[in-house]
Point group: C2
Chain length 341, copies 2
DNA sequence: GTTTAGCACTCAACAACATAGAGTGCTAAC
DNA sequence: GTTAGCACTCTATGTTGTTGAGTGCTAAAC
């Protein structure tokens, strides 16, 4: 459906005003605030038309207008312009990342934090479960008399470790050569496809330590299966407290529960992601729990898989800012991870 | 001040009733609910006395009584009995810890979570900054062509690692022997007191790799200084939403901010801890921000230092349950860490 | 002297009602 | 097609009245 320019301008004014004030918008205030060169009565007529077409709604007969879901959709698709990060914001981000960063998780955490701060909504970053199939290197390090640590480095550069009891009689040098045997046998092989030949090789070379070998293999198995779940990092959940739509304790409670109880949000987010910014408004969300919320998100590639990054907030959201920020940070986080890992 | 038995009984009834209902307690309801064999009028007289002595307060002249801070203090010190964990609760805890636990942090997290669940308040666990002075073992592990990971095991059993660029020419075997040199020189020495002799030893034995050695030393230094801050794990902050005293959005906001914004709570907690359960009621707390909250906490020994564990909730708190739970879990967490590390 | 029934009094909470004001739709004039 | 004017609608806010839980005090009972 294509609208006349004036009609578009009025629709845009109403939506922007409502997003700003959270109050139903009257004809007079539109004229005043946006200096339209027409009278309030004309605006009233237009608004009545827009309501008929489904873009606006009236909470009750004698109140101002509020955007409908369709109205927001039209606004997002045809009226607004994404507002990407400003130079100052980019500068700030650079400063944040000039500090010491310890790995992966910390990058994600900081980006999420930054995003929540910029948008004043709640940010989320979903890190895909990393498939840990192959290992690049294994090392058994002695600690104290009867303990050792198995350290595994995977093909994706992840480092994992776990403690292990060992017989007192084993020397550090033996541990080193055992590690070497493992490395010779397994390096760059898919752990789950290790075959008889590989295992025989290890056994032949370490005949006398059968007991310990089993323990090590067991530990490796544990490490590789353990971490196999998506991680979600949520920032700025408390920003919801500032939104007028969540002044009601019960609503607040249900939304904070979704955001904070582990793993709920993860299962609720849209599943098919691309590298385009995707916006789900209100009941466009499939999940019942967030039919009064909007989500702005995008995908990013990391370690060969696709993660999700975005914000969640009230339907009355500053979509231009949210979409621009998500778009910018989606690209940035991809670069940051690539650069350092 | 010592009170007559009947007076004590009435005070206890009023406090328990108020803690349960959050409503001012009237004379009639005390008599009814606790089957006292005296009339409401007598109770009224007693309550007037208790008010005069400062144990009770009246929100307004014709309302029931509410415990004062002094009243709660007397209750906590002289009237209540700590309610330690029940057998079922201990059983549940056992089941939680029969699952796989990955290190230290996870123990703490699970205990905190459990404590929040049992008490319905917000739990906190403060892990002291671990002084990382000595290392027990160091290993440089090759990853790919031009990278290696430095893994350090400290005297307290902590494992830390960090990636490092290395010259392509260095072989895995060389890395191993370099590691050995470091180990010979430094093991069980306080890192910050490593002296000229130690360094000379390393240098003499690794003359040709000067550049890399410096990098490794640098990395070690980074690792040892980096983690030097207390960690706080907070669970069940959303439990506050259920308390009638936090139905007001502004109060809720300020308390959730304290609990969630990183690091605020840590600086606010009482500083001198013992292995006794310590209870701070309302304005007994030094920090302005939590003068309307109560804290029940205790210290626990871990890795040679003292951590804090406890709950924070409204002044109208079920102190008996909170104190018992904190006491039990304080001992349990100490044992759990000792047992596994 | 202590306890208790009785009663007048107090005050918050709630409901019923009145009022103000922002905004509308419609009509008639421009 | 646009706009001024006006009657109408409906929420939000303030006012008033009523109810009921609870008190303190007095005087009688134990």
């Amino acid at each position: 459906m294509t609208l006349a320019d004036r009609t578009k301008a009025i629709l845009e004014s109403v939506i922007k005003d409502y997003i700003e004030t959270a109050e139903p918008v009257g004809s007079r205030s539109v004229v005043k605030k946006y200096n339209l060169k027409i009278s309030a009565a004309t605006v009233r007529n237009e608004m009545a038309d827009l309501e008929e077409m489904g873009y606006l709604e009236q909470p009750h007969t004698s109140s101002g207008r509020v955007p409908s879901q369709i109205g927001y959709r039209y606004f997002v698709d045809s009226l607004m312009e994404k507002e990407n990060l400003t130079d100052e914001e980019l500068e700030l981000l650079k400063r944040i990342f000039s500090e010491n960063i310890n790995g992966w998780g910390e990058i994600v955490e900081k980006v999420g934090h930054f995003m929540a701060q910029l948008t004043n909504y709640t940010s989320f970053v979903v890190l895909p479960a990393v498939r840990i199939d192959e290992f690049k290197h294994l090392q058994i390090i002695p600690v104290g008399e009867d303990e050792a640590i198995v350290v595994i480095v995977t093909d994706l550069g992840l480092i994992m470790h776990r403690k292990l009891k060992i017989p007192v009689s084993v020397t550090p040098e033996e541990l080193y050569s055992i590690s070497q045997v493992f490395n010779k046998a397994f390096t760059n092989k898919n752990f789950r496809k290790i075959n008889r030949t590989d295992l025989d090789y290890v056994r032949d070379n370490l005949r006398q330590k059968r007991n310990m070998i089993d323990k090590v293999i067991n530990t490796i198995d544990h490490l590789l299966t353990d971490t196999n779940e998506d991680r979600v990092i949520i920032s700025g959940a408390l920003n919801m407290l500032n939104e007028p739509e969540f002044q009601d304790i019960d609503k607040l409670k249900s939304i904070l529960t979704i955001l904070k109880e582990d793993g709920i949000l993860k299962d609720i987010l849209p599943t098919n992601v691309t590298d385009e910014v995707d916006i789900k408004i209100g009941s466009e969300n499939v999940a019942e729990e967030i039919k009064e919320m909007s989500i702005v998100m995008t995908g990013f590639k990391t370690l060969g898989q696709v993660g999700k990054i975005g914000v969640i907030g009230p339907v009355r959201m500053e979509y231009w800012k949210a979409a621009g920020t998500v778009e910018s940070l989606g690209e940035i986080i991809e670069d940051l991870i690539k650069e350092r890992f």
